[in-house]
């Protein structure tokens, strides 16, 4: 999902920065306020950020295209803290990787934050909210949220590349689609099994957080008290 350093023309770098910067700034504001109001959430914030650190460092082999790609790990943070704060956590990881690993880059940082830190988490967040409302099995909802958030991230990456490099050089709908299918073949297909792994592992981490620290999740309105009691009772 990382668009490598220099791979987007300057115009597109600027556009994605322009879209992403306000969200990251809003996320920083929201994060500061949250930490000030509830200091006790800091460890949870660290866990959510650390989960992104771990998952985005694991390059997993995919049978679909027989290449390697990595999960994003943003689902948990999105469910706990919402997309804006997740954008802040993601940009930290992306800067780390751009600086030390030549993975991703600074010119493409805006584009990468947009896919991994904003759209993916937004999709996770919305699926989570909808799933909870629909009262589907709780861990399955987390699984769906993380899995589809991951896919969404990679679809956005493919879209970004296709917009910058439409087939034939002129950006028309057909040229975009043609390029998109090429890039999606690299990213989206590869990601199918990897996103499923990400969803499964995210559900597991969610379970452990509910086990040890459900009160804070209730307080943050991630979970309802009745749901916690039910999960405790069943402990699926």
């Amino acid at each position: 999902m990382h668009i490598m350093e220099g791979l987007l023309p300057a115009r597109w770098c600027l556009i994605w920065f322009a879209v992403s910067i306000p969200v990251v700034l809003y996320g920083i504001y929201k994060m500061n306020r949250l930490v000030k109001e509830k200091r006790e959430i800091l460890p949870l914030l660290a866990v959510a950020g650390a989960f992104i650190f771990v998952l985005s460092s694991l390059k997993l082999p995919s049978l679909v295209t027989q290449s390697c790609s990595h999960p994003t790990g943003t689902g948990i943070a999105a469910i706990f803290f919402g997309p804006a704060i997740t954008a802040v956590l993601s940009i930290i990881v992306l800067i780390f990787q751009a600086l030390f690993l030549a993975h991703g880059g600074f010119t493409t940082l805006g584009a990468n934050v947009f896919s991994m830190g904003i759209v993916g988490p937004l999709v996770s967040y919305l699926i989570y909210k909808a799933g909870v409302k629909a009262r589907i099995n709780f861990y399955f909802v987390v699984f769906l949220a993380a899995t589809f958030g991951d896919w969404a991230t990679y679809i956005v990456t493919s879209t970004q590349l296709a917009l910058a490099f439409p087939a034939g050089g002129v950006l028309t709908y057909g040229a975009f689609l043609s390029s998109f299918s090429t890039f999606a073949a690299i990213f989206a297909f590869t990601q199918v099994p990897i996103a499923i792994i990400e969803g499964a592992v995210s559900a597991l981490l969610f379970k452990y957080v509910v086990e040890v620290k459900s009160d804070i999740l209730v307080e943050m309105k991630v979970l309802e008290d009745s749901v916690v009691r039910k999960l405790r009772g069943l402990s699926a």
């Binding site: 999902m1 990382h2 490598m4 350093e5 220099g6 791979l7 987007l8 300057a10 770098c13 460890p43 660290a46 866990v47 950020g49 650390a50 989960f51 992104i52 650190f53 771990v54 985005s56 460092s57 390059k59 082999p61 995919s62 049978l63 295209t65 027989q66 290449s67 390697c68 790609s69 780390f96 751009a98 030390f100 690993l101 030549a102 880059g105 600074f106 590349l161 490099f165 087939a167 050089g169 090429t182 890039f183 690299i186 099994p193 499923i196 792994i197 499964a200 592992v201 559900a203 597991l204 981490l205 452990y208 957080v209 086990e211 040890v212 405790r232 009772g233 069943l234 402990s235 699926a236």
Partner: protein, 109 residues
């Protein structure tokens, strides 16, 4: 307590590992990084006219160093997760075990 979710996740991971071992043993698939592929595709689409507008500030000098840094990234993350989940768990056990000893090991733990 029920370990249903653990078993499901374990099953998913095992299926994933099994298909990988099977396919990598029976084919010559390269398993290169998907993130490295767009550069070639962009070359094809633009006929090689697009030159990257920037280069990485620093690149790991070898694949070994790169995997060292990726492992370090994962280790830092795993350490933080383990520390805080352990911290929360211990805190919770202390709380429930302090008032009466009977509560020290409730079945739901």
């Amino acid at each position: 307590m029920s370990r249903k979710l653990e078993f499901i996740v374990l099953a998913i991971l095992l299926i994933f590992a099994a298909q990988f071992i099977y396919i990598s043993a029976t084919t010559h698939a390269e398993y290169g990084g998907a993130d490295d592929k767009p550069a070639g595709v962009i070359d094809q689409i633009t006929g090689g006219t697009y030159k990257p507008i920037a280069k990485p500030i620093w690149e790991p000098p070898s694949a070994e160093i790169e995997s060292l840094l990726f492992a370090l990234q994962a280790a830092i993350g795993a350490g933080v997760i383990g520390y805080f989940l352990g911290y929360y768990r211990a805190k919770k056990t202390m709380k429930t075990s302090l008032p009466t000893n009977e509560k020290a090991n409730p079945k739901g733990q």
